[in-house]
């Protein structure tokens, strides 16, 4: 954790706040924005001198630089990283930086000037770094030109540092706040004239600076969407049919309508009932007391065992397609001196964000507004428009920082549609809808369930003769985006096993290699979950690789290296993690190592885990060492934080699953969906052996090596491979 040893070097942020209201109010006049909270303020009137130099940079008279952020902040630190990139090129004073979240309506009104707002796929930094840096550089050039014009000197004679412009010839100096008004009136520079700094010259970007958004998270001041208060606001909560595909038949409103504060009990779609009250607790209590009759529909008898059987049929079926198909893997394996075959299975799991699903909707005759923690504000805007019936231009989405995202709040805007359906009954009144935790667990878009049949052979010298991977499982695209499936081949489910470079390339090459996918869908909705399909594919690939190495009588690290000569970046992180972890060196008695490497989101990850397993089957993960090559690092401390977080998010899947009985989700709350706690958290060490020649993601890449590294250490400790999760299926528990 890079900067933890010298936190005194970090800039003080206590006096600076993440400005939602204030900064937006200032720019509100400049841009004619609607204020985020729909409140005109005196501050807005007094801030007329704030200058929008360009869409990314607003400078206040006191030299504060407000940097606009288009991506969502859900804890992953993108807000701070993007601000660092803009500030680096802007040459402003980092102590005087604040940020402002743009709205979907603002982006629409300015023809998507801020580009993509979706925050998913670890793309927040890597896919906007170029244009936000250019935005910072262009603003700097305009501010310098404004000073040059004022002084009548060539702009090339000016210098700038920390937002102070100087002209050494005349000894004059000024600051960004003083020239911003004039700069804002200048023609922006020709994009071809913008030269970005070399990464080696960075002073703000690339440093482990403190986050800009921490202060309000320490004292209760931060307003999440669930915390919004508005005059006259009503509160709602919902219950959707607990069996997917079922319908709401009837409910007995008379039993609850007289309860304190209850305003309305209403059917909001085919399968969902809502209670609206003057407080959320009263709505929740009435909903719990409401007699409801469901038509459970065609899936009421589905359970985890029947789903597993359905997936098993895909392990040997003829309906699969091959993606990598080099040589003849099945034939080579059959002819081998030694061979091994194994079936792996990974269950569904849930996102379980700490802030439950919620939104606040206000529908007025001339405007539809929503306040929502969303990973995709533009998708929320489209859903708001289609469900409210108002054109996009009359809709607005206020992006609230998310209390966790992990992929739950991206594509399917179920929450928007529900919130709008309720608010339609209360025109002009803001209605906040909040799901209970039980509703959140029961109506997620789960990480897809998957199985794999793995087969390999080795020759009498211990060399791999062939590798054959058959994945069978549910398809995210089939549920969420069928158009992405070309020619019936859903390649997305083989993420991390792809032959193509740059994104999620398989780390091994061999003369006889085949990867296949057979689609086996279930009635449960599925969606992206931090790391998406690299999670299960990383387990299949990396745990089986240890099984094959064992069959070959070789060290798992050395066995991998022999297959990676054509994958230098994969090999680079594998070697870096192994070296940092002291692979091959003695360990305390009873402690064993496991190693894994995999690729996702344009970045290369490897991990070594140190684990002990007691006679009672208690698994203790002592230490995890990671190497991540994401090309360029904008904030090494926040990159480390994301890796630490991926450990906890990944390790929860060792002890919990989402299972199905009678068509319903069994794990209804934290008592039976056990989330990992601090006691189970290992030491985490991170090295970033970045190569600097590309931009990869950070939030998701490492999660796919967390679980396989730990499972391989368990295998080393017990002599038995772990082929299915959670660990309870092997009589193991995480401690």
């Amino acid at each position: 954790m890079n900067d933890l040893m010298n936190p005194g070097q970090a800039p003080k942020i206590s006096r600076r706040k993440f400005l939602v209201g204030g900064a937006a109010a200032g720019s509100g006049l400049v841009l004619g924005f609607h204020l985020p909270f729909g409140i005109g303020s005196a501050a807005a009137q007094g801030a007329a001198a704030d200058a929008e130099v360009n869409i990314w940079v607003v400078v206040k008279p006191d030299d504060t630089c407000v940097i606009r952020i288009a991506r969502a902040e859900m804890g992953q630190g993108t807000l701070t990283g993007l601000a660092q990139l803009v500030a680096e090129e802007l040459e402003c004073d980092w102590k005087k930086v604040s940020t402002e979240q743009i709205t979907a309506g603002q982006n629409l009104a300015r023809k998507r000037a801020w580009g993509v707002m979706s925050t998913a796929g670890s793309r927040g930094i890597r896919e906007s770094q170029d244009y936000v840096r250019r935005g910072g550089a262009a603003a700097r050039m305009m501010l310098l030109q404004a000073a040059a014009n004022e002084w009548g000197v060539p702009v090339g004679e000016l210098r700038v540092a920390n937002g102070v412009i100087t002209h050494s010839g005349s000894g004059r100096s000024t600051s960004y706040g003083k020239v911003a008004g004039a700069a804002a009136k200048l023609t922006p520079p020709d994009p071809k004239s913008i030269q970005l700094k070399a990464v080696k010259d960075w002073k703000i970007a690339g440093k482990g600076l403190r986050r800009l958004d921490t202060a309000d998270k320490l004292n209760g001041a931060k307003v999440y969407a669930i915390d919004l208060k508005m005059p006259g606001m009503l509160h709602a909560t919902v219950k959707d049919c607990p069996v997917y595909g079922g319908k709401l038949l009837s409910f007995d409103e008379s039993k609850v309508i007289g309860m304190p504060g209850v305003k309305r009990v209403m059917k909001i779609n085919d399968s969902t009932v809502a209670v609206v009250a003057d407080t959320w607790w009263r709505a929740k209590k009435a909903l719990d007391a409401l007699p409801i009759v469901w038509d459970e529909g065609p899936h009421a008898k589905v359970n985890s065992a029947s789903i597993a059987k359905h997936l098993e049929s895909g392990l040997t079926s003829s309906d699969a397609f091959a993606d990598i198909d080099t040589g003849d893997a099945p034939k080579a394996i059959a002819a081998s001196a030694k061979k091994i075959e194994a079936v792996y299975s990974v269950p569904f799991t849930s996102h379980t964000t700490m802030e439950p699903m919620n939104c606040t909707v206000k529908l007025s005759p001339d405007k539809s507004e929503i306040w929502i923690p969303t990973q995709n504000a533009e998708a929320s805007l489209a859903a708001l428009s289609s469900s409210s019936g108002q054109p996009l231009e009359k809709c607005e989405v206020y992006v609230m920082d998310l209390g966790g995202g992990f992929g739950r709040r991206i594509g399917n805007q179920d929450v928007v549609r529900q919130g709008v359906a309720i608010a339609k009954a209360f025109p002009g009144i803001p209605v906040k809808m909040v799901w209970s935790r039980e509703e959140d667990q029961a109506h997620d878009f789960y990480r897809p369930i998957a199985q794999a049949r793995m087969a390999a052979g080795v020759d009498d010298k211990g060399n791999l003769t062939g590798l054959h991977i058959r994945v069978s499982g549910q398809s995210i695209n089939a549920f969420a985006n069928p158009a992405a499936i070309k020619d019936g081949k859903d390649r997305r489910q083989l993420q991390g096993l792809w032959p193509q470079p740059h994104d999620a390339q398989f780390g091994y090459t061999h003369a006889n290699l085949r990867t296949e996918y057979a689609m086996r869908n279930t009635h449960l909705p599925v969606g992206p979950w931090r790391g998406v399909n690299t999670n299960q594919n990383g387990i299949f690939s990396e745990c089986f690789m240890d099984e094959v190495a064992k069959l070959a009588g070789r060290d798992p690290l050395e066995f991998r290296r022999a297959l990676m000569s054509e994958r230098p970046k994969h090999l680079g992180v594998l070697n870096a993690a192994a070296e940092k972890a002291g692979w091959g060196k003695p360990l305390p008695k009873g402690v064993f190592r496991g190693i894994a490497q995999f690729m996702g989101y344009g970045s290369y990850s490897a991990a070594v885990a140190e684990v002990s397993v007691s006679a009672k089957g208690e698994v203790k993960v002592h230490r995890c060492v990671f190497a991540l090559d994401c090309g360029n690092v904008v904030n090494p401390d926040q990159t480390a934080a994301q890796i630490e977080g991926s450990v906890a998010y990944g390790m929860t899947t060792l002890q919990s699953e989402i299972s199905v009985a009678n068509g319903r989700i069994v794990e209804t709350n934290f008592h039976n969906f056990r989330v990992m706690k601090i006691a189970e958290m290992p030491k985490v060490e991170v090295i970033l052996p970045v190569t600097g020649d590309f931009w990869g993601g950070v939030g998701e890449p490492t999660i796919c090596v967390v679980v396989p590294a730990i499972l391989n250490a368990i295998h080393a400790a017990t002599g038995k491979p772990v082929r299915s999760l959670p660990l309870s299926k092997q009589g193991l528990t995480l401690v």
């Binding site: 206590s14 403190r210 607790w281 700490m354 998010y649 934290f670 601090i678 006691a679």
Partner: protein, 162 residues
């Protein structure tokens, strides 16, 4: 109707007796730093101090609050985020999304009040709050950091406040 003393101020709240303290604090008093996470005292997002002891307010009915009970929420921990736990949390940049951190901080303050120099095992046993972002690694470091600072004085202040 219930009388609540929160952060040194008295509030009269008009709620049914079975209303969880969490919802009285959030919806009647209007202090939203204390969070809803599960409603069944499992996750700890709703942690507050009741007479200096950490409790999970989502499963504690208002009727259980006695006259004279002193409730402290995250908003009442310090006037200016100067509590050593808050300072340690800031120095290490503990929060990611931040949603659970009010509860984490309240749990840490209560732990340090009882054990000014907690061991890792003490932390494991006392800090059972859930964080989905996985900030556990830094929570542990921050608790130790707070314990190494001028913590004793601040605990006294907190207890007085509570």
């Amino acid at each position: 109707m219930a009388q609540l003393n929160i952060n040194g101020r008295n509030y009269e709240v008009n709620v049914e007796a079975d209303t969880p303290l969490l919802w009285a604090i959030r919806e009647q008093v209007g202090l939203t730093g204390t969070k809803y996470g599960c409603g069944v005292a499992q996750c700890g997002a709703c942690s507050i101090h009741l007479n200096g002891e950490v409790v999970r307010s989502c499963a504690l009915p208002v009727a259980a609050i006695k006259p004279g009970d002193r409730i402290t929420t995250i908003e009442g921990l310090s006037k200016d985020s100067s509590h050593p736990v808050q300072k340690a949390w800031a120095a290490i940049d503990v929060p990611q999304c931040g949603y659970c951190q009010s509860g984490q901080i309240m749990a840490a303050v209560a732990l340090l009040a009882k054990k000014p120099k907690p061991t890792d095992k003490d932390i494991d046993e006392a800090m059972t709050n859930i964080c989905r972002c996985g900030t556990y690694h830094r929570i542990r470091a921050a608790v130790h950091m707070a314990a190494g600072g001028k913590f004793a004085a601040a605990v006294t202040a907190d207890q007085q406040n509570a």
